[in-house]
Symmetry: C2
Amino acid sequence: MRELVYGVLDKNRKALSLYEIEQQFDNVDRSTIFRTLKTFQDNLLIHSVDDGSGAVKYALCDDDCTCSLDDLHYHFLCTKCGQTHCLKNMPIPKVDLPEGFNFENANFVIKGTCPNCQG
Amino acid sequence: MRELVYGVLDKNRKALSLYEIEQQFDNVDRSTIFRTLKTFQDNLLIHSVDDGSGAVKYALCDDDCTCSLDDLHYHFLCTKCGQTHCLKNMPIPKVDLPEGFNFENANFVIKGTCPNCQG
DNA sequence: ATAACTTTGCAATACTGTTGCACGTAATTC
DNA sequence: GAATTACGTGCAACAGTATTGCAAAGTTAT
Ligand SMILES: [Mn+2]
Ligand SMILES: [Mn+2]
Ligand SMILES: [Zn+2]
Ligand SMILES: [Zn+2]
């Protein structure tokens, strides 16, 4: 199962929801995939994005990625097709927080139309 | 009801979830508050943030704010107390998207510890 | 007073995420 | 190789949030 789920994420090259992954199989239970994704996340193979679509999405990490801290990148949710893209070449900038606020993590989601949905 | 809900948001000065607002009343139904918030949002009195906590949060807009487009600011979710702050004096920077991507909207959430939760 | 419209509460529903449990399979130990 | 242990899977149930249909109550206009 792990190989198959990994394969789906690898093939699609974008962030997928639990449901979307489930759709790519016949007769595999949601919970199995859920737990597989959890395992992946615990072992830093994937990262998750809450893009505001209602479902958390999952995408492969790059080999050298340590998503929990330094490899944070923008994500892009297309309002037409609903696909979520990792903008991996766009690291998020350092933010100067007001006094007393302590940075731990960030989730920067941009919404708009993706290259497939222009025109 | 609208005056009361507005009052709660005004008093708290931070983004509150539907549930948190509900807690501040006796015997007011969730759906009534939900619809009140929807009305506020349709009339640009408030904006909502999906901070990844599982519940959407709502906060008052400034007088001149047109949240849908230009008045986008960072939001800060405290991982200790769970409170969400509008960093209204911190407009989000312009982002240079890759070719083909079209900016419409953004949701930038930073997680960490807030001033109340240091030490 | 009557009619038309709005607001509210209740209940039901949808959707996502999450967990307990039992069972089958694989790995380990003796 | 048989007994034991650990692991992976499916099913079903449950939790939390968001959302809607409907009827009753309240408000405004005629
Ligand atoms: Mn990503
Ligand atoms: Mn805000
Ligand atoms: Zn698209
Ligand atoms: Zn705090």
